[in-house]
């Protein structure tokens, strides 16, 4: 037996406290979503009635549908463009300016990006709706995809590309049969990340959605509901979203681990 190391004990306590701090509020929320009473102050018994109510609410369902459309389309756009961008940047020599310009949309505050995009759409006279949200989400997602795929490309043995060409393959065939399959775990992880980022993004969507009722996304719908107080219905939505996000994060981490092996 190893003697109890006081420093180790301290570190473990600290670690535990950090996790408590991070997850207790979320845990409270999950518990309350199963509370029979509508009030967050008292536990009156286990119930799944709020989940049932949720599924019967057409506004929530249509907003969730909108969010799925936005997330899927912007993920496809940003994964394709971001992956190509990553390959281009890795191919060229190191260029701090280009790197900074690519990373900027990740760092610029969402509110600034939202105003900039809205001004731009107004300037070019573009109509607002789901399509403008898709474009806006693609803008920052490209930056995230590019970052994730580049990490993968850094460990990529470029001589296998030359080997493929040496064996008679064209550049297109090489990309399809060698480069893409090898970096695929990174590309999928990037897609999952951009999907997650898009589905719960509020500020930019709120600014660029336009006035129409038809382009309300899921976070916007929750925001509208929460103005009348935190209902158990919202707790139920949040629980579903947490479960879904957690699943995506685990999946993307798993893919990235496999990629390294």
């Amino acid at each position: 037996m190893i003697a109890r190391d006081p420093i180790r004990l301290w570190l473990n306590t600290h670690l535990g406290l950090v996790y408590v701090f991070l997850y207790v509020p979320i845990l409270v929320l999950i518990v309350l979503s199963f509370n029979k009473s509508g009030l967050p102050t008292a536990w009156t018994g286990f119930s799944t009635e709020w989940y049932g109510k949720l599924l019967a609410n057409p506004k929530i369902l249509s907003a969730a549908g909108n969010s799925l459309i936005v997330a899927v389309v912007s993920t496809i756009i940003s994964t394709a463009i971001g992956t190509l961008l990553a390959m281009g940047l890795e191919e060229g020599g190191p260029n701090p300016w280009l790197d900074a310009l690519v990373a900027a949309p990740m760092i610029i505050p969402d509110i600034v990006l939202a105003i900039a995009l809205l001004s731009f759409y107004t300037l070019v006279n573009m109509s607002l709706g789901l399509h403008s949200i898709v474009l806006s989400h693609a803008v920052f997602n490209i930056a995230f995809v590019c970052m994730v795929v580049r990490t993968r490309l850094k460990n990529f043995d470029k001589s296998i590309v030359e080997a493929s060409i040496d064996l008679g393959a064209s550049e297109v065939t090489t990309f399809r049969r060698v480069t893409l399959p090898v970096i695929a775990p990174g590309v999928v992880a990037a897609a999952l990340l951009s999907f997650t980022l898009s589905i719960d993004e509020f500020i930019i969507a709120y600014f660029t959605a336009g006035a129409g009722q038809g382009s309300t996304t899921f976070p916007m719908q929750i925001y509208a509901m929460i103005r009348f107080g935190v209902t158990p219905e919202i707790n139920a939505i949040a629980t579903i979203v947490i479960g879904f996000s957690f699943f995506l994060v685990l999946l993307s981490q798993r893919l990235n681990r496999e990629a390294v092996a």
Partner: protein, 350 residues
């Protein structure tokens, strides 16, 4: 044997650096050719020019009579075995070997037959369904060889083929490479920094330094008749004695006239003698120089002796073959005499 590959005055520059400087050479059909040199001598660049991954700034490359200088790498009938092997990590051994044939449009039974033949040739038939990550270094190399050879190239280029293997495996693979080259009759062009590897494998060696060919010769010529100090120093061990040619003989300051070949013009020169050509005796017997044993190392069979000689900056190295009367009793501090035959030394003029 006719010229298969002709490199004609090829130059390749990277910015201010001239990596390959007007190199011309010919590789014959079915030859095992080595490009040897220290790192940064341009040997890998030259190989990449032949493979088609670098376009030369000047000069032409011809293969079997036709000019391939402007042909893209994927259209050239040569294949390259990469130093890192560059196996496709997501494909099995079979998939790796089949890839090049699929690019030729081969499929079905014919494809399968050719791949299986290639795997059998490198004795890897039992590993067809393994991924590269499940193979050892030596096994990966065999798959890389099979992948390059299965396309029946006119020439196989190998970049430091044995560099990543440990000593024992290296010796085994040297024999294997030689066997494969003789069985297939394909010309092998191997790039290496390991002189021993080049001497063992190659029919002819081009020794490169700073982008230029220093000497192009058979291993024996390169060993026995190096053209300059670089060549003499790079290949094997060599003793150097600086001096000059005067009165049709070689003289070293403080040592007088030493045995050396005739017929070299007067002027400063260096005498180069291989350690195994140095005769060590206990008695003067008309020997050339005297020295004191500094140390002797037993190599398993031969003994390497270091002998300090007055007026020489570095000790003379002598290799005593097994059974030499002195090999068992050489002791530090012992006085010995060194000698060699005039025609077994080389005079270097640079």
């Amino acid at each position: 044997m006719s010229a298969l590959l002709q490199i004609d005055a090829v130059t390749k520059r990277f910015g201010p650096v001239t990596a390959v400087d007007r190199i011309s050479l010919e590789v014959k059909d079915g030859e095992f050719f080595a490009i040897l040199g220290p790192s940064g001598c341009g040997k890998t660049t030259l190989l990449r020019v032949i493979a088609g991954f670098e376009a030369p700034d000047e000069g032409r490359v011809r293969l079997a009579g036709s000019d391939i200088t402007d042909l893209k790498a994927n259209r050239r009938p040569v294949n390259l075995m990469f130093q890192s092997y560059a196996l496709f990590p997501h494909m099995t051994s079979f998939g790796n070997v089949a890839y090049g044939l699929e690019m030729e449009g081969l499929q079905g039974a014919e494809l399968k037959k050719r791949v299986e033949q290639a795997l059998a040739m490198v004795r890897m038939s039992d590993f067809a369904s393994r991924k590269p990550s499940q193979l050892s270094g030596g096994q990966r190399q065999r798959i890389a060889l099979a992948r390059a050879l299965v396309k029946r190239p006119k020439a196989l280029l190998l970049d430091e083929p044995l560099g990543a293997l440990d000593r024992k495996l290296r010796e085994q693979m040297q024999i294997e490479l030689k066997r494969l080259q003789q069985d297939t009759g394909i010309a092998f062009v191997v790039v290496t920094h390991d002189q021993e590897e080049a001497l063992t494998l190659a029919d002819r060696i081009a020794l490169l330094d700073r982008g230029k060919i220093v000497q192009l010769a058979t291993p024996r010529e390169l060993y026995d008749k190096p053209v300059n100090r670089f060549a003499a120093d790079f290949i094997g061990l060599m003793n150097f004695i600086d001096g000059s040619i005067a009165h049709s003989g070689f003289e070293a300051p403080g040592l007088g006239r030493l045995p050396a070949p005739n017929g070299v013009a007067n002027g400063p020169a260096a005498l180069a003698i291989r350690p195994e050509r140095v005769r060590v005796t206990e008695n003067a017997d008309g020997a050339a120089i005297q020295g004191q044993v500094e140390g002797a190392a037993f190599l398993g069979q031969d003994v390497i002796a270091h002998v300090a000689v007055p007026n020489l900056p570095r000790p003379m190295v002598a290799r005593l073959a097994a059974g030499h009367p002195l090999s068992a009793k050489l002791a530090r501090g012992q006085q010995v005499w060194l000698n060699w035959q005039a025609d077994q030394a080389v005079i270097l003029k640079d």
